[in-house]
C-alpha cells in the first residue's frame, strides 16, 4: 500500500486548519513558559503555506513539502520558523519527485525531518521541546511497520506516541528555547512546540485515514 501526494496535500491543509483553530490554545501554552506567540507564529506560517501550496497542489509530495518548508522559513520567524521549516524541507527532500509514497518512504521522510530539527536546534530528548513529541512518534511508526502494521495503523500509533511525548514534557525542566530562562519555573507546563508537533502527527494520521490510499483507490 502506498500514500499519495493528494494525501500529503490534505495533511498540510488539514493541519493549517487545526493550527488556526488551536491558535489561542498554543499561544496560551507559550505565554506560560515563553513569550506567548507560538500559535500566532504557526498560524501566520500556515496561512502563508496555504497560499504558496495552491499553485503547486497537483505536484509531487517532495514539492508540496519543500514549498511548505520554504513558506514557513520565510514567514514564521521565532524558533518555530527555522525548526518547522527545516522539518518540512528535509522531509520534502526525502520524497523528491514522488507522487506515490511507500510506507517506508513516508516514515523515512518523517525521520529525515526530525533529524533536521535536531541538527538545527541541537535539542536532546527531554529538553522539553518539539523533539520530545517527534522522537517517540518516529520510533513508534518504525516499530509498527516492522511489526507488520499498515501505514494507517503505524501513523495512528505514531500520533499516540507523540501525544504521550507531549504530555511527558509537563514535568520536565526546559533546557532549550525561551522556556529555559525560567529554570525550575518551567516545570509543570506542557511545551507549546511539542503540542503543535503532536497536532501535526495527529493530522497526518487523520489524513491517511480520511482519504483512500493508492492501493484502495485503484480500480
Amino acid at each position: 500500500m502506498a500514500a499519495t501526494s493528494a494525501q500529503i496535500y490534505n495533511w498540510l491543509e488539514r493541519y493549517a486548519g487545526i493550527v488556526a483553530e488551536q491558535k489561542q490554545y498554543l499561544t496560551g501554552l507559550d505565554a506560560a513558559i515563553g513569550d506567548g506567540d507560538h500559535g500566532i507564529n504557526m498560524d501566520r506560517g500556515f496561512q502563508t503555506v496555504l497560499v504558496k501550496l495552491a499553485p503547486v497542489s497537483d505536484k509531487d509530495a517532495g514539492t508540496l513539502l519543500k514549498t511548505t518548508g520554504m513558506a514557513l522559513v520565510g514567514s514564521v520567524g521565532g524558533a518555530g520558523g527555522p525548526l518547522y521549516g527545516t522539518f518540512f524541507l528535509r522531509a520534502g527532500a526525502a520524497l523528491d519527485g514522488k507522487s506515490e509514497i511507500s510506507d517506508r518512504d513516508l516514515v523515512g521522510a518523517l525521520e529525515a525531518g526530525l533529524k533536521g530539527v535536531v541538527e538545527r536546534g541541537k535539542a536532546n530528548p527531554n529538553d522539553k521541546t518539539m523533539v520530545d513529541a517527534l522522537t517517540p512518534a518516529v520510533a513508534r511508526a518504525k516499530e509498527s511497520l516492522d511489526g507488520g502494521a499498515s501505514l494507517e495503523e503505524a501513523l495512528a500509533a505514531a500520533a499516540d506516541a507523540a501525544e504521550e511525548g507531549m504530555k511527558a514534557t509537563i514535568p520536565l525542566k526546559a533546557l532549550k528555547g525561551r522556556a529555559s530562562y525560567l529554570g525550575d519555573r518551567s516545570i509543570g507546563h506542557q511545551d507549546p512546540g511539542a503540542t503543535s508537533s503532536y497536532l501535526l502527527l495527529r493530522a497526518l494520521s487523520d489524513s491517511l485515514a480520511a482519504l483512500p490510499q493508492q492501493a484502495k483507490s485503484t480500480t
Binding site: T27, A31, G34, D35, G36, D37, I40, N41, R44, V73, G74, S75, V76, G77, G78, A79, G80, G81, P82, L83, G85, R120, G121, A174, L175, K176, G177, R178, S180, Y181, L182, G183, R185
Partner: protein, 342 residues
C-alpha cells in the same frame, strides 16, 4: 475574524496589528529620509548611502516592539541595516540575507544577534544563504542578562542592554575603517565586558495577542524580566527606586565581577512605559552604588533604547571600558535615535 472583538478593545495607536510594523517603517522612512531608506517584503531598514565601499557592514535585527532598537540605530557610525520581525518575534532569514547583500561593500558583514533561539536560528540560516552568494559573514551573539543562569546545556543568557553598546562601539570602529575580524573581536569584547538586569512594574500588550503577556498586581514587580516579558528571577513586593536600583546594580556588579578602580559606562534603560524622570531617579542610585564601591563611572546613557512596548520598568547595564571601547563610544554617531559629535 475572531480577533476583531479583541482589537477594538486594544487602546493603542495602531491601525491594525497586522500592519503595525510596516506602518512604523514607513513613518521612519518619512521622518528620517536623510539617514535611512526602507524596503518591504522582505522588510529591511537600510542606511541611506549603503553599501559603503570598503567599509564593514553591520546588520542586526530582532522582533519589533523594542524601538528604537534596532532600526533607530541605523545610520552613520552605527548599524548599516536592521531587520524588524513581527512584534516580539525574530525576523526571517530572507530579511537578513537581503540586508547583508544591501550593505556589503566588499569588506564583509557582521551580524549582531541577541541570544534567543529564534534569532540565532534565523540568522544562522541567513548567514548560510549569504555565504552561498559569496558574502563574507561573521556573527557576534550578545548574552548579557545576569537574571538567567548561564549554562552550556541550556539556551544560555538573553541578549539585552549590551546590544545597544555593541552596536554603537562596533559601529564606530567600522566607520573608522577597521576590518571585519577587528570589528568582530571588538564586538565580542564589548559583550564579554557588559552585564545587565531588568525589572518590570507592568506587562506589555502584544497587539496580535490583545492582552497583557503576564498578570501582575499593583503592589508587585518582576525582577530579572526579559524584554519580551519572559519571567525573571522572582516576583516580589514593590520597593523604592533606590532599593530596586541597588538590587539590579548589585546583581550586575557581582556577576563579572566589577572591581574598585574599574572604569565603566553605566546605562539605565527604560522599558517603554517608564518616564525619563523615573529613569534619572534610578540612575542616581546606580551611580551612587558604583561610586561607593570605587568603580569609576566615566560614561553614561539614560533613556528608552531597548524597550518592551509599553512595559513599565527599567534595566541596568554596566560595561567595563578600556581606551579602545571608550574611543569608539565617543566616536561620531548620527542615527534616528542616537546622535552626537555630528
Amino acid at each position: 475574524m475572531a480577533e476583531a472583538a479583541v482589537t477594538t478593545r486594544l487602546k493603542k495607536l495602531i491601525n491594525t496589528p497586522e500592519t503595525e510594523v510596516k506602518d512604523a517603517m514607513a513613518g521612519m522612512a518619512a521622518a528620517h529620509s536623510d539617514l535611512i531608506r526602507v524596503e518591504y517584503d522582505p522588510n529591511v531598514i537600510i542606511r541611506k548611502d549603503a553599501p559603503k565601499k570598503g567599509k564593514v557592514g553591520l546588520v542586526s535585527g530582532g522582533g519589533s516592539g523594542h524601538e528604537p532598537l534596532h532600526g533607530g540605530f541605523v545610520g552613520v557610525g552605527m548599524l548599516d541595516a536592521a531587520c524588524p520581525g513581527a512584534v516580539f518575534t525574530s525576523p526571517t532569514p530572507d530579511q537578513m540575507a537581503r540586508a547583508t547583500a544591501a550593505v556589503d561593500g566588499g569588506a564583509g558583514v557582521l551580524h549582531i544577534v541577541k541570544n534567543y533561539t529564534g534569532d540565532i536560528l534565523n540568522f544562522e540560516m541567513a548567514a548560510e544563504l549569504a555565504r552561498g552568494e559569496g558574502a563574507k559573514v561573521n556573527a557576534v551573539i550578545t548574552n548579557d542578562d545576569v537574571a538567567v543562569q548561564d549554562s552550556l546545556y541550556t539556551a544560555g543568557r538573553r541578549g539585552v542592554g549590551v546590544t545597544v553598546l555593541v552596536e554603537k562601539i562596533a559601529g564606530g570602529a567600522a566607520e573608522a575603517g577597521a576590518n571585519l575580524d577587528a570589528v568582530t573581536e571588538l564586538a565580542k569584547k564589548v559583550n564579554a565586558n557588559g552585564r545587565s538586569m531588568g525589572m518590570a512594574l507592568t506587562s506589555a500588550i502584544v497587539p496580535a495577542a490583545g492582552k497583557p503577556t503576564f498578570e501582575i498586581s499593583d503592589d508587585e514587580m518582576e525582577l530579572g524580566i526579559g524584554i519580551h516579558g519572559e519571567p525573571g528571577r522572582e516576583r516580589t513586593k514593590l520597593k523604592s527606586a533606590d532599593e530596586i536600583a541597588e538590587i539590579l546594580t548589585m546583581a550586575v556588579v557581582n556577576d563579572i565581577p566589577f572591581k574598585a578602580g574599574d572604569e565603566v559606562l553605566a546605562f539605565v534603560n527604560g522599558m517603554g512605559g517608564t518616564p525619563l524622570i523615573e529613569l534619572y531617579v534610578v540612575y542616581n542610585a546606580v551611580h551612587r552604588y558604583l561610586t561607593g564601591r570605587g568603580i569609576k563611572v566615566t560614561r553614561s546613557l539614560v533613556g528608552p533604547y531597548i524597550t518592551s512596548l509599553e512595559m513599565a520598568g527599567c534595566s541596568v547595564t554596566i560595561l567595563k571600558l578600556d581606551a579602545e571601547t571608550t574611543k569608539f563610544w565617543d566616536a561620531p554617531v548620527h542615527t534616528p535615535a542616537l546622535r552626537w559629535r555630528v
